[in-house]
Amino acid sequence: MEAIRYFLFRSLRNMASSPLLCSAAILTMGVALAAVGVFLLVVLNLQNLTKDWRDDIQVVAYMDKVPSATELDEVLQKVKAFPEVETAIFVSKTDALQRFTKRLGEDSDLLTGLRADVLPASLELQLKGEYQTRNAVQQVADRLKSELKLEDLQYGKDWLEQFESFTTLLELVGVVLGGFLVFAAVFIVSNTIKLTLYARRDELEIMTLVGATLRFIKTPFIIEGLLQGILGGVLAVVILYGLHHFVLKDGLQVLLLTPAGFTIEFLPREMQLAIAAAGAFLGVLGSLLALRRFVRI
């Protein structure tokens, strides 16, 4: 216990004795982690956005002839039994016209005088999350054709193809850019810590000369790295919060061409904690790597 107190005291005193270096290390870590955080924020919101788009994926089967109530029940039961289907709704001709009228809003006058059966009745199928893919949609469409003889189907085949290539590209860019940012953060942080240790190389040398063990020499520096890392991580979250609040919230909305009602979210609590933890990890790792270089007995 006394040893822990002693090491903690030495770490804090070291930090206090070179405030400039210490602040530089915390600031560097904060900025590096905030860069990774901004990227996470963009990826997270893009994911939310594509999830919204995916939720819109549906298969619509238009029916030439309105089925009787018993026939409809039978069709709905069959369709609901498809493993891919989450919900199946029958939209009658009247419902379709009502929807259309509502959608036209002020221009709904255009529809005056039209017969109620001008639009076809349809079956709208919403798919389960894991089946919101091009292949699954195609499979559902094929089954509707073969088993229920529904020929007039609409499921945005071309749009789905484009959407999938877009999300694949997004994932690829995410991995490459994210990997690069993390690598840059590790590189910058470990070099900053190296600089702070370089400034104290005399102290390290003297410690080895007076018979200090490696544990005695390294522990305070590792604690220092840990504390600086945590502070850097917290600073990164604060920077991110500021950026989100003042810039990204509106900026991303414009950049991502988000639909109305979609808000740019901040990182969830777990991710904020993960950034602080990443800071702590980076601090310790950076200190260990730098100490290997500067402490030689």
Binding site: A3, S17, I206, M207, L209, V210, G211
Partner: protein, 221 residues
């Protein structure tokens, strides 16, 4: 206490710092290590506190073979060997007290033991009134006295001094010599590298003379 058997140290094929040096130093001896710059004095001292390992030969300190010592055991060797350098090697950001306490803290001594010992040692070198000063506020001689206090604080079996008065004027050098002699009188084996022959004449002791890495003379006064 110190036994060197056929020590050779080469940094490259053409560059040999020490060539076949064998020396035995008894417990409680005071020995000068003399020779011109580049003769191998510092390299030899470094071997005694485990900072260098010989290319060939064996080094025994108090019966322990330093040549085969694992790196993790080197700190424990250094706790038996105090070292004083020409450039003092003090931490300028720390006070005199902290500099001396450092070596004791490194050995895991309790806080009250450290305080007591530091005061005793600083008193021995006549600097007990400068506890709170920073090294750069002291003269060269005073800084070297702090370094000696730090080396002696751990009660070393051996005290190695590498040109301890190299940066000091003649009068201050004599003070430093008195301190080293005092430590020797209390039983510490002292090995002092110097090229100040005047000091050797003033305080005649066993002298080991090195030239171009070879031991050329080992003489008693």
């Amino acid at each position: 206490m110190i036994q060197l058997f056929n020590i050779c140290k080469s940094y490259s094929k053409e560059n040999s710092a020490l060539k076949d040096v064998s020396v035995h130093i008894q417990k409680g001896e005071f020995v000068y290590l003399t020779g011109p710059s580049g003769a191998g004095k510092t390299t030899l001292l470094k071997m005694l506190y485990g900072a260098e390992r010989p290319t060939r030969g064996q080094v025994l300190i108090n019966g322990q073979n330093v040549t085969r010592l694992r790196r993790s055991r080197v700190p424990y060797l250094r706790r038996q060997v105090g070292v004083v350098f020409q450039d003092y090697k003090l931490l300028n950001s720390r006070t005199v007290y902290e500099n001396v306490a450092f070596s004791l803290e490194a050995q895991g001594k309790k806080r009250y033991e450290v305080a007591q010992k530091v005061y005793q040692c600083l008193k021995k070198v006549g600097l007990e009134h400068k506890l709170k000063s920073k090294p750069l506020e002291l003269s060269g001689g005073e800084q070297q006295r702090v370094a000696i206090a730090r080396a002696l604080a751990v009660d070393p079996l051996i005290l190695l001094a590498d040109e301890p008065s190299g940066n000091l004027d003649a009068e201050v050098s004599l003070d430093i010599m008195e301190l080293l002699k005092g430590a020797n009188a209390r039983g510490t084996t002292v090995v002092m590298a110097t090229h100040d022959l005047h000091l050797c004449h003033l305080f005649p002791r066993r002298t080991i003379h090195l030239e171009a890495g070879r031991l050329v003379n080992d003489s008693m006064p």
